[in-house]
């Protein structure tokens, strides 16, 4: 049996992309990146084929096994995240090529975003808690670099605030790693379940790690760094950050929570996470509705939507297997469809801002006649955020509601419904301004077709995944505690 050769390539290709784009002249960077994208797709599909043919197999980088070497492993969830990363990154890359702002301040966009993809892949594929730490730290540094890219005073302040938050979060996570290693003498995620009987240490470790990771995921009330960082960056960067980067720390938290298991993960803590998620849904939605700048509205919407994902913890901790599986399905479908919708929405918002030449929502009047396609993409992504059928957001919320009913925790029922109403309020606020026939303007700029089509592709995918959710959900259960095949 051959080794799972696709796994190392998922790290080698983005790292090669980062180095190659750093070395070549600026005008070649976009072309080199586009040339490397097919290789990334090839590696992702090779992993898909390997997983289908041979099942889950670990890979030791360079032939060095654990504990000193770096072990990689891909299960169904990791594969789904890799395909998601590849798709969102490809769309953002096509967008960035066509974007007029991508030449001057965006010269380092290419190397740093390739590093971002490498860091994301190393998190999706990590098999031990220390490599997750390194991945999280690399991801934070790459993301901060992308936020600071434009070099304006606002961007630098947002980047500094983001950097302080992400460094503090990583350090809290590292303390947890130290405590877990001291308790069990192993770093592998697969060995964490054995720690259940070793006293209070794993619980303290989990508390540190959870606080660090929710700071990185911008869960209410630790979200203050997110809106300026995501709202002020280049549109392609905002899309990558909101779609993928905040999900990475949540992914680590879900993996840890499941690996440690119920003896270490108390229901009270899970309920606190659910309550904070509820706070995020309400506060984020309210703040999004109150924004006057379009991209800040979309950024606050990310704060709200991250809240839904934290309902996973109360719904899947200590509940019946059927309810926990519904929570798993619903949360992951929410994660994927929000990633697609939010990336599409940021790109569409970037097009609208580019077209009217102003970041303010009130200046959008009359845009519906000039840029109907971008507005359509914005609305399509909004449909997923609101949870209208048949979008991915609808199916995900439906699964979460069913899980709340099946586990007898009826008090979570209003959260997805209220959150959907708030999302509708802020999406329709934008649409209302767009359909107003304001003072006659004749200086709309027109974004190129690549800009509009990349936003449309993401928004359409977020709706389409709701109609064909069964297959990806079955894949994501592969290798999880909720899988049928184990």
């Amino acid at each position: 049996m051959t080794a799972p050769f696709a796994l190392p390539w998922l790290l080698v290709v983005p790292l090669a992309g980062a180095l190659a784009t750093l070395l070549v002249a600026q005008r070649w960077r976009a072309r080199v990146s586009l040339a490397l994208l097919p290789l990334l797709w090839l590696a992702a599909f090779a992993l898909l084929g390997d997983l289908a043919a041979n099942g889950i197999r670990p890979y030791a980088l360079g032939g060095w096994g654990a504990p000193l070497g770096i072990a990689l492993v891909a299960d169904g969830l990791a594969l789904a995240m890799i395909l998601l990363t590849t798709f969102v990154f490809s769309a953002c890359a096509v967008y960035a090529v066509g974007h007029p702002g991508g030449q001057g301040p965006g010269a380092f966009l290419w190397p740093v975003s390739w590093f971002l993809v490498a860091a994301l892949h190393s998190i999706w594929l990590a098999a031990d808690i220390f490599n997750l730490y390194v991945g999280l730290e690399l991801l934070g540094l790459a993301a901060v670099g992308l936020v600071a890219l434009t070099g304006s005073a606002e961007a630098l302040a947002a980047a500094l605030r983001y950097l302080l938050a992400t460094l503090l979060g990583s350090l809290a996570y590292l303390l947890g790693v130290a405590l877990l290693y001291a308790a069990g003498g192993s770093l592998a995620l697969a060995d964490l379940a054995a720690l259940a009987a070793s006293g209070a240490m794993p619980r303290v470790a989990l508390a540190f790690m959870t606080v660090g990771l929710i700071l990185k995921s911008a869960l209410f009330p630790l979200h203050a760094w997110l809106p300026p960082a995501h709202g002020g960056a280049l549109s392609a960067v905002s899309a990558l950050l909101s779609a993928l980067v905040v999900k990475a720390s949540l992914y680590v938290l879900i993996r840890l929570w499941l690996a440690l298991g119920p003896p270490v993960t108390p229901l009270a803590a899970a309920n606190v996470l659910g309550a904070l998620g509820t706070g995020a849904v309400l506060w984020g939605g309210w703040m999004a509705w109150r924004q006057t700048k379009l991209k800040y509205l979309v950024a606050y919407s990310t704060v709200a939507q991250v809240g839904f994902l934290f309902l996973f913890f109360p719904l899947a901790t200590g509940t019946a297997a059927a309810a926990a599986r519904l929570a798993w399905d619903g949360t992951l479908l929410m994660l994927v469809s929000h990633a697609l919708a939010k990336a599409g929405m940021f790109l569409a918002a970037g097009n609208l801002v580019l077209a009217v030449g102003s970041p303010r929502i009130a200046d959008l009047s009359g845009i519906s006649r000039f840029r109907p396609l971008s507005l359509f993409s914005f609305g399509l992504a909004g449909m997923t955020l609101m949870g209208l059928p048949p979008s991915g957001g609808f199916t995900a919320k439906w699964l979460l509601l069913q899980s709340a009913l099946a586990s007898g925790q009826w008090w979570w029922l209003p959260v997805p419904i209220l959150g959907g109403l708030l999302s509708a309020a802020y999406v329709f606020k934008v649409l209302r301004h767009a359909f107003v026939e304001g003072p006659k303007r004749d200086h709309f700029h027109s974004p190129s077709a690549a800009l509009e089509l990349s936003a449309l592709a993401l928004a359409a995918a977020s709706v389409a995944i709701g109609m064909a959710a069964r297959v990806p959900l079955e894949w994501m259960r592969l290798g999880s505690p909720f899988g049928v095949t184990g």
């Binding site: 540094l141 304006s152 302040a157 500094l160 460094l167 350090l171 130290a178 405590l179 290693y181």
Partner: protein, 98 residues
């Protein structure tokens, strides 16, 4: 108390001091230094606690080496952004923190 456990306790004290400094100070350079002190504290905990009563263990030492590399890289990035921020705005604190 073994020497390894003593290291871990010193690490805990350093972490607490660092966190205190991180919260109390507004000057960005001081906050960065406080973060580095916190980092050193967590490395001491990582090495000390794991080797307490078990003898020398290469794994936490390798981890700390990696951790130091990561800490140096993030400090360097923070310094670059901080200097640029100082040049653009003339301030050494973040806007709302004044």
């Amino acid at each position: 108390m073994s020497i390894a456990l003593f290291h871990a306790w010193v690490g805990i004290v350093l972490c607490g001091l660092g966190l205190f400094g991180f919260i109390v100070h507004r000057h960005l350079l001081r906050r960065l230094l406080a973060f580095n002190i916190m980092g050193s504290g967590s490395f001491l905990i990582l090495v000390g606690l794991a080797q307490d009563g078990r003898g020398a263990d290469p794994v936490p030492q390798a981890l700390v080496l990696t951790g130091i590399v990561v800490a140096v890289a993030s400090t360097a990035l923070a310094l670059v952004i901080l200097r640029r921020w100082y040049r653009v705005s003339g301030a050494s604190t973040l806007p709302e923190d004044v």
